[in-house]
Symmetry: C2
Subunit: 127 residues, 2 copies
């Protein structure tokens, strides 16, 4: 499989696949002309990566997840711990974002939004 084929099948753009190769997340073989050759196993890793990234895991965490995945002697507790740490980070982001949203929505509600210059949003920022 060449890179555009595996891109279609994994749902990742070729640029991203090259990037993952650069940082060692995959090690596809090379053809005599220098083209990358992807095995089913490479494709599998890439699809795994796409899903882990979609869940918001960092690339470093994806590296760890892949390592755990390929370790038959892993403890599921280790995977769960990784996921819990990530969940805590998501919860923190949700809280911060929610606070922003509340403040911003209040300010928007209090602004007339007409042609006059008076604006509670700017007044609050300049407070």
């Amino acid at each position: 499989m060449n890179i555009s084929e595996v891109g279609k099948r994994s749902g990742l753009p070729p640029k991203t696949i090259r990037f993952y190769d650069d940082i060692g997340l995959i090690q596809p073989k090379r053809d005599t002309n220098g083209y990358r050759i992807f095995s089913e196993s490479d494709l599998h890793r890439l699809a795994f990566l796409r899903r882990a990234r979609a869940l918001g895991f960092s690339v470093q965490e994806c590296r760890q997840l892949l390592a755990l995945y390929h370790d038959d002697t892993r403890a599921s507790a280790d995977v769960k711990a990784l996921a819990r740490t990530h969940l805590a980070r998501i919860d923190q982001q949700l809280e911060e974002l929610g606070q922003m949203r509340r403040t911003l929505a209040d300010l928007i509600d209090s602004c007339a939004g007409d042609s006059r210059p008076d604006c509670p949003i700017l007044r609050d920022l300049a407070r």
Copy 2:
């Protein structure tokens, strides 16, 4: 006022203030020795920036907000439109993050988290 003083008063680190100077968000005067000299007005702009950034506005949006703030003929509708666009972005992020959270929490719940290798989290990623 020198940079560390205005840093304390605005709540921004000197490095960040220099950065805002570099990108033209502020234009402090310079002393004969090359040191930046900050006026009350510079301080005010920096505090404004800190609060706008804390609400999640991008640096570009902060630039526009500052321009609106200093424009006596602005329409509050323009400020409100900027804020609404930003709010929509926050809502989108909240939704994406909420979806991630749900999926991740479900996976975590389904994982025994013991010393055995079997793990629904990895199974889902490898699906």
